[in-house]
Amino acid sequence: MLTIAGKTFSSRLFTGTGKFASAEVMRQALLASGSEMVTVALRRIDLNDPEDDIMQVLDRTKFFFLPNTAGARNASEAVRLARLSRASGGGNWVKLEVTPDPRTLLPDPVDTLLAADELVKDGFVVLPYINADPILALRLQDVGVAAVMPLAAPIGTNRGLVTRYQIEIIIAQAQVPVVVDAGLGAPSHAALAMEMGADAVLVNTAIAVAGDPVRMANAFRLGVTAGREAFLAGLGAASDQASASTPQAGLDFIR
């Protein structure tokens, strides 16, 4: 069981709710994924379309809500979105996303740290989305975030674990759960993240835009489970050297 801020999860696959063709497909895919925590975003209502309401299909007794601050371009926008979410009954958990560049949607490290500090002090459970920067992860842990969410690759690129080596470092140093988020394009990517020791993964695009999102959601569920099992079983390490050789000096000097 995974515990984040005192809350336990049986599933280590978290899912996003964006980019789906329809609310119904989203609903079925989320069910197939086995996910227990879903991200949602906050946006101005389209005054001309009252029916477009995700809340009508998302059963909050089945899915724990993790509102994100998607769209925030700086710390104060992110803090405002978080407070709006909490005031609306969205709970006090927030996935902190500060993304000033709309082309890459890469997270701003400076404003993420500033916003995280302010939100933690304001009683939020903060899960910051960050580039796979080990020092930033440590700085965020120092201010009291509940988890860190380093990206595998930029949002929507489906490229897999481009940031693998940094994520390894983050996992090795982490004092809070590590949730690999963004860029996971295939169940094998998710499995690899889990084999590396990640505590969970978050997947959105790869499921939402798959040919068969429901089937893909199930595939990710299986991949995450496989990866986690392998991690717990203790993988045999691959060796870079075909065989060990005695060092130049030899060890004859030892008495």
Partner: protein, 369 residues
Amino acid sequence: MMDAFSLPDFNELPQLIASRSKDDVLRALHGSHLSVSDLAALVSPVAEAYLPEMATKAQAITQQRFGRVIQIYAPLYLSNYCTNRCLYCGFSAENQIQRRCLTLEEVEDEANTLKQRGVNHLLLVSGEAPKKMGVDFIEQVALRLKDRFASLSIEVQPLTEAEYTRLFASGITSVAVYQETYDPALYQRMHLAGKKSDYAYRLETPARAAASGMREVGIGALLGLGDWRAEGLALGLHLAWLRKHFWRTGLTVSFPRIRPAEGGFQALVPISERNLTQLIFALRLFDHNVGLLLSTREEARYRNGMVGLGPTRYSAGSCTAPGGYAHEDQSAEQFAVDDHRSIAEVCAAIQGQGFDPVRKDWDSCFQEF
């Protein structure tokens, strides 16, 4: 609030080590992020047969991470007065030795002698006798010496965080404090009286030093007191905990091995050079970034051979008696040194191995106090 470091039941450590198989050793040898049970495998008897393979890997990691260099430092003993009665130590209050506490002028004399011999990294050492030589004195020493030396470390009695903060402000940037033995039962038997008999307080000291802002903290166990394999595993646990909780702090491990001293203490559990080597390799594989110190307790032959295989710092030209550098040795040593070479000779030997002896790494003027 951070929880203090605590060991699991020390008696469980030998069991963990004994349960490791050849496969566990092989997995530890080839893994990249080693766990505590990997370390247990590497210090186990089963791993002894793999010493050459451990050497190869330790060599690769050490050189990649640290380069082909060995940093040189020297200890400066400020005082051998001590209120503790540690069974194994030449400075024990029990021992009738000539006691000496240097004056500030004498300290400067000693320091200048070392500086002329090429030393820029000083380790200030003392017994534990705060009334004879307390934090005020160390502070004075630091203020006098800090501009002349690249760095000043201390190996003195455990201090409070506030005292470490004060010393940091005066120019001390590194603290060494060795648990001696991580076995609480053995610890009580070894430390009969004095403040050192408080196991828990000593155990928490590295964390206090790190919290005060010290750039570096050094830990170690006195090898030969208890089961070196279990001590090695405990060291690894302590090291990993410090890494996790004080990510900004540099960490080092020392390997003092019991040597002849006044009082005639013999090692309870002999640890051979081969054992020591295995321990050094194991810790290097476990933590790629930890500094590893080999002092003049070890012989020249051994220290020459180990260059490049794991250790990163060597003391040189050491005298473990207060006042022993500038003038002939008039007071007693803490332990007998076995590498009697001068600093110049040690550096030449390191160069002979194809390595660079670094006498100065850092400048006190860079440090923001």
